[in-house]
Symmetry: C2
Subunit: 479 residues, 2 copies
């Protein structure tokens, strides 16, 4: 692809992306695809000879695009709906043009220092103290994994060399969390060799918040049983109901017990840029580590997960390894040494992710970001009000942010019948639809989940999905 | 940013990227930046109010771009020089526009199935058998981590629940590799809780290839000592010299001993698309897992690492965890169930990385990719010939692919003086220069390393860097 061809191609794809975003709302959020549809349409072998851009883009439009689930659709209200803003897409394009790998300061001073600075910006916007130092990972799964790994290292520094096996004198480590924690905590327990059985899910209160007294009791019981408590993961914005654990009370227990406190605020954390929402986070400023994903609710395209750690040395102690071929003069020099991002985790290669976060913050401004998050929370409260006012529906959890859990009622139905009914309601609401909701279970009950954190979701979408739910539920009841 | 503003902005940034790639060669590869330069130029606080795109792009050009290390510069010959091709950049832009998270089939059927298909395409191009099933991770650090985790799981399946600690009856696991393995193996040992001491670096032969007899002896000694050998990592294309371990002999040992064989071909693996280079990989078709990074030597922009595993169930056994909120109808349905990418590793969130690999393969065609890799290998051999013909220089390793290790000689100098001399030579060669080389140590000797795997590197660049090295060495000798 020569120079002028590339420039023309880039403009062509730019138009394709702009067209996509302009028209995405007209499509169903979920494609009609069945498993294997795209596979059947693609040749089994790579082409021997170069194909034309026209052929590839035609296949993209005809074969790939119709099988996408449209995350940038304003009706994507499932999971933690995340969306890529226009400024973020511009940032991705700039980063792709550089192909920078920010493993070392030397391999891109700008990527390293911009990452330091935008993580600082975000930290201040969130109202967090200076000694929480941030860096960017791909996902919260990795950020949380690194945090628990650092906690593990502090309790058993010799594991770096000796490992966890064959050391009968070493009491086993335990980690604590709410019964409503995200599955990434469980995965970290498996991956780190700590084991699922050593993760202690603590009972939550009626509002799905971890109960500090139950936490303290479990820690005491574990100590009595000869185990070694290492860390607590508190969640602000649990996946099912977005409940906020009482972080201040948990932090006090961690201080007393000498445990690492990790706060999983992957989705909700962005909301702390609004001072009026900070009470939900009270105490997180005492954490040893916090994860906040700008790719979830700050309109940065996948992937961008910021991990803040109190004392970056603690990550470095767990992970730094510098082979000869990665030594650089700046590491050896006297004076202040630059941060080497590779020292902070498992991954050596690192994309230039700071650029898109920088562009999003600058092109919206803090006020612009706050306004959008406030509007999402307002829409969530509004929907909650509509549900509360409708005798055919039942709200199933408080709405601290903008995610609403509810279900349709069915007079005289058993729990099992209610589950089947709401499962059907979800299916018909999502099928060939401008909306996509997901579900979860709360206290064993099947509930629908509507998460409003998509940049493009407006009041008209929330009103329309509510009408659709009411209508579909009525039709199903009548059937 | 409204619709027409975004379209205009995208075209503006597209031109900026095209301009960058057209002019990158005119810049020094390494910026003149000193630690803290960019930090000092950026405000300490995020802007309160939205800024204009013009202001942000002006800062990008004036503050960020001059502090980039230019990975897409044809003179970037350090580390494993990797580069983002034009088709790959187009793929990144398309993917950014979708903001897809391919965690589940349902969250983007196209992303999941395109990933399956392009990994198949690549597998066939590499000459690997059908039962090696591929998926894409961010980095080889993660791919290798997952492979060793799966090996660990097969030896101790109960660790998933019980963990590795407090089980005195369980012999400790050991992992084997060449003394020339990449540091990501060491990091995986730390992260997985196996410990650095349980990684057995096996002595290499004179050509830096793992010695199978020494491997067998170490395994026997470990068994005799009550340890439990679990996996061997063989490398094709070691980081320092790009040597290829004798995979067939290693595979035979693994078969006999019941060990998981992981092949780290993160950089060199792409070269197996050229049949004449396959003898260097002989035996890798017997591996339990293989990592090949298209972002290293197949012109796909960061990040894209393909992990092939013999029997995808083995990864799923180690990592699958499905919380209620991620259950979907297709997981429960009868008949063939679609692949759920989240089941294959630690990370839940997954970018739509398949798109850029698909576009690179289609827009170059297999022949186009082979031609570029062959040219790189030819340039490597040519440079090796020039070094061998110059009495002032000494080649320090064979050149199986396109990376050349060498040093400048200094009559009568000690090893220590040679190291200092070559360190100075590297510094002056790289400073304010259209070239960037790195170094390593081989048998304790400091050597310069010139890796030719950058899409844009041509014969004229290799000839020019060689002249620069000759001239600078002569100047230093005369000084």
């Amino acid at each position: 692809m020569d120079r002028s061809d590339f420039r023309a191609a880039l403009h062509q794809v730019a138009d394709l992306v702009a067209d996509y975003l302009e028209t995405v709302e007209a499509r169903p959020v979920l494609p009609a695809a069945r498993p294997g549809d795209l596979l059947a349409d693609l040749p089994a072998e790579a082409p021997e000879v170069a194909e034309s851009l026209e052929a590839v883009l035609a296949d993209y439009r005809q074969l790939v695009e119709p099988r996408l689930t449209h995350w940038n659709h304003p009706g994507f209200l499932a999971y933690f709906s995340s969306s890529g803003s226009e400024p973020g897409i511009l940032g991705e394009l700039l980063a792709a043009g550089t192909s920078v790998n920010a493993m070392l300061w030397q391999t891109s001073p700008a990527a390293t220092e911009l990452e330091v600075r935008v993580c600082d910006w975000l930290r201040r916007l969130l109202g967090l103290p200076d000694d929480l130092v941030g860096h960017i990972n791909d996902t919260a799964s990795i950020s949380t994994f690194l945090a628990i790994a650092a906690a593990r290292h502090e309790k058993v520094p010799e594991l770096r060399h000796q490992g966890l096996m064959g050391r009968p004198e070493q009491p086993a480590l335990t980690v604590y969390c709410s019964e409503h924690r995200h599955s990434s905590i469980d995965k970290a327990m498996v991956a780190l060799g700590l084991g699922l059985d050593r993760l202690r899910p603590i009972a939550a209160d009626q509002d799905f918040r971890l109960d500090p007294a139950a936490l303290a009791a479990q820690i005491a019981a574990d100590r009595a049983a000869g185990l070694l408590p290492a860390a607590v993961v508190a969640t602000v914005g649990t996946t099912s109901s977005t409940s906020a654990d009482p972080v201040a009370a948990v932090a006090e227990i961690c201080r007393r017990e000498g445990l690492w406190l990790h706060v999983d605020a992957a989705w909700a954390g962005s909301a702390a840029i609004c001072p009026e929402l900070r009470p939900l986070f009270a105490g997180w400023e005492l954490a040893d580590s916090i994860v906040v994903n700008p790719h979830k609710w700050l309109f940065v395209p996948m992937d961008c997960s910021v991990l803040y750690v109190r004392g970056i040395e603690r990550l470095r102690a767990a992970f730094s390894l510098v082979p000869e071929y990665l030594r650089t003069a700046d590491q050896e020099a006297a004076g202040e040494k630059p941060l080497q991002l590779m020292d902070l985790g498992v991954q050596l290669g690192r994309r230039f992710r700071a650029l898109k976060l920088w562009m999003v913050i600058r092109l919206y401004g803090a006020e612009g970001l706050r306004a959008r998050l406030r509007e999402h929370c307002r829409l969530g409260r509004e929907l909650a009000g509509w549900i509360d006012a409708d005798p055919h529906f039942e709200r199933m959890a408080p709405v601290p942010f903008s995610t609403v859990c509810f279900r349709a009622g069915l007079p005289g139905a058993s729990e099992q019948q209610l589950e089947a009914f709401n499962e059907r309601l979800l299916a018909v609401t999502n099928r060939d639809s401008p909306f996509f909701l997901s579900h979860t279970k709360l206290r064993g009950r099947y509930v629908l989940r509507l998460a409003i954190s998509n940049l493009r979701t407006e009041e008209r979408h929330v009103a329309a999905v509510w009408r659709r739910l009411q209508e579909q539920a009525a039709l199903l009841r009548a059937a």
